[in-house]
Symmetry: C2
Subunit: 378 residues, 2 copies
């Protein structure tokens, strides 16, 4: 009996360990020279940390906490289940303290600066740095008349902006999701790299991208009845979704951009897009400002519908592109393919995209930007 | 006897706690919405973290580990001794694991991405964001013929670069210290903010600043005898101090900058400066390339000496400014004041600066940049 139990336990251990392919490599998101965390070909994450006096260390990724094991030197090691390709936020838990992994670089998401890890993808070539003409991601401050503070944002300028000092460019206003900030699209989203590669391959025309903070936009002097601040019926209904950010975007960010940069300052050369919450903001702000943006993208942010567009004459007259996307498992809920087909019947240039094998996460949004950018300003 | 001991212990406890002034405020370097770490008017740092199952938590700052204490809820709190004003790297130690504090933003220094904290200073106004014409800190990649890789750097462009699309600008090449990287001068150094403020106050002329990585410059194909690669006697002697970075700077960074930006591309409009190791690199590279840089700054990087300059005819003919600085306690070792006085006798425009009350740390280097920038290109 004892022998049988031992045998069964040994078989289970063998079976469990046989499932882990030992081809782990340091993640591309690691700090320079750091070996851990690692990723294997099964897309499992292996973390490691020295914590000699700890009694419990866990790897916390994808909403699951995985127990790590201590060796004789006090070094803890443990693996996650396979993750989706692309970028994920994670942390370590050491005796009850949730902390960043000292092996990874840090990104803002889940309402904190913390660890991130990139799982290699078959299509990763589109967001890898190549020796092609390079634009830049520019960190700026500007004064907001709405918040009465200096705000912080990032501006992508394509290589041509520098090479052709008299040329003017279209602009995309591109927003992050809930719990993220203005750093998301350039850091984990790899916006600058994706755009430089697309432009070099002549798959996209050069344009400027402004990435701001869609959350910290509380006005210094809130209006008593924000619903009265204009917009059509659909726009008013959704004003609270656009929230305070609508005011900052329309009154401060767009004028600042058009003052400081060489911009073609008309609706036909102005786009707005965003992911998740940023997609919902795009939805409500573009409806509430129907003649301001001709090019619109919603990534994992739900879908426009025919009802709200049927009588939106100004919106329809202005619009050049309505792009809606989401991750494969989100489609059952978001129905972007059906929405796009329905809206096409209204005569709008509507596109949909479903990111294969990825969910509500950055790989879906990198791919969405890659698809959307190829349609913009053409 | 027992009573006396108790009284003595109580007095000691009172005396110790009386030393801590309870006016702690969240640090300016905290993550948005995070209360801890805090700093009080005595410049003590108070850290706090929830670690219910931990048996030992320490605050590790300024080379000292301070014990923190657990409350009934498993939350640990503890204070450091008073710190110098300005920026410091720190970390937490949880049951033997050294990790970033989840309350702070993260900076690269001490050869890692980790926590940083800014202690308020009487003169902090010069590095605070103001509503003045804003330049930008631009993140770029470029191809290096020396390392045969895409390298990563930051470029400060002044507001006028955008406002005056045909104007050309001088350039400062500005280097970080050992254990730091290309992000240091813009993040903890606050280069862009210091420059925007100085230029708006008309205390500095507008110029471009290129901030690169002075450490990861190993050539793809190292030359067998690097000492033969030119430079005068002093330059050859110090070639290894400039190291592989000299080649990347001269062959890749300067040509890239002069190709991609509107630059006045002559020695009279080209400066090099650096802090600590970056100052030593500046020392050796400017000596080894005596007709390349007219304006030179060494911050906490030692000093030039008359011996190496006496026969450096090309260097002396080219030079417009030799600036040397350090923190107050460093001066006994670095002697920048004496060195500056000695070198003045050679007919060079030499300046020295001693940062009051700060050591080998970022406040010294922020102030050094502030002083140096006011002398440049005038």
């Amino acid at each position: 009996m004892k022998k049988t139990l031992f045998f069964a336990a040994a078989m289970m251990a063998l079976s469990a360990s046989a499932q882990v392919v030992e081809d782990f490599k340091p993640a591309s998101t690691n700090q320079e020279g750091k070996q851990y965390p690692m990723v294997n070909s099964q897309r499992m994450v292996r973390a490691q940390i020295s914590a000699p006096e700890a009694t419990s260390v866990k790897l916390d990724i994808g909403g699951v906490k995985y127990d790590m094991k201590k060796d004789a030197n006090g070094v803890w090691t443990g693996e996650s289940a396979p993750q989706d390709v692309g970028f994920h936020y994670y942390q370590l838990n050491i005796d009850g303290a949730s902390v960043p992994d000292p092996g990874s670089k840090y990104y803002y998401g889940a309402s904190r600066w913390g660890s991130g890890i990139d799982i290699p993808a078959d299509d990763e070539e589109f967001y890898q740095v190549k020796n092609v003409p390079q634009g830049s991601i520019n960190e700026i401050y500007y004064y907001s008349t709405v918040t009465e503070t200096m705000r912080h944002a990032y501006v992508y300028l394509p290589a041509e902006y520098y090479a052709q000092p008299n040329k003017k460019f279209p602009v995309l206003y591109l927003q992050h999701g809930m719990g993220e900030n203005e750093t998301g699209w350039s850091a984990q989203g790899k916006t600058g790299i994706i755009m430089d590669n697309l432009i070099a391959a002549k798959k996209a025309v050069p344009f400027i991208i402004v990435m701001d903070n869609g959350l910290n936009a509380r006005p210094a002097h809130p209006a008593p009845q924000p619903a009265q601040q204009g917009g059509d019926q659909g726009g008013r209904r959704r004003f609270n979704m656009g929230g305070a950010f609508q005011d900052v975007l329309i009154k401060d960010i767009i004028p600042m951009t058009e003052k400081n940069y060489r911009v073609i300052a008309d609706p036909q050369h102005r786009a707005m897009a965003g992911l998740s919450m940023g997609g919902m903001q795009t939805h409500s702000i573009t409806l509430a400002n129907p003649t301001t943006f001709a090019w619109i993208g919603m990534f994992s942010g739900g879908a426009f519908n025919t009802q709200e567009l049927e009588n939106a004459a100004d919106f329809k007259k202005t619009n050049k592109l309505l792009f809606m996307s989401c991750g494969e498992p989100e489609e059952a809920r978001m129905n972007v393919t059906k929405a796009a087909n329905d809206i096409k019947a209204l005569g709008l240039n509507t596109h949909s995209y479903i990111s294969p094998g990825t969910a509500h996460e950055w790989q879906t949004w990198r791919r969405s930007l890659y698809q959307f950018a190829q349609l913009l300003f053409k």
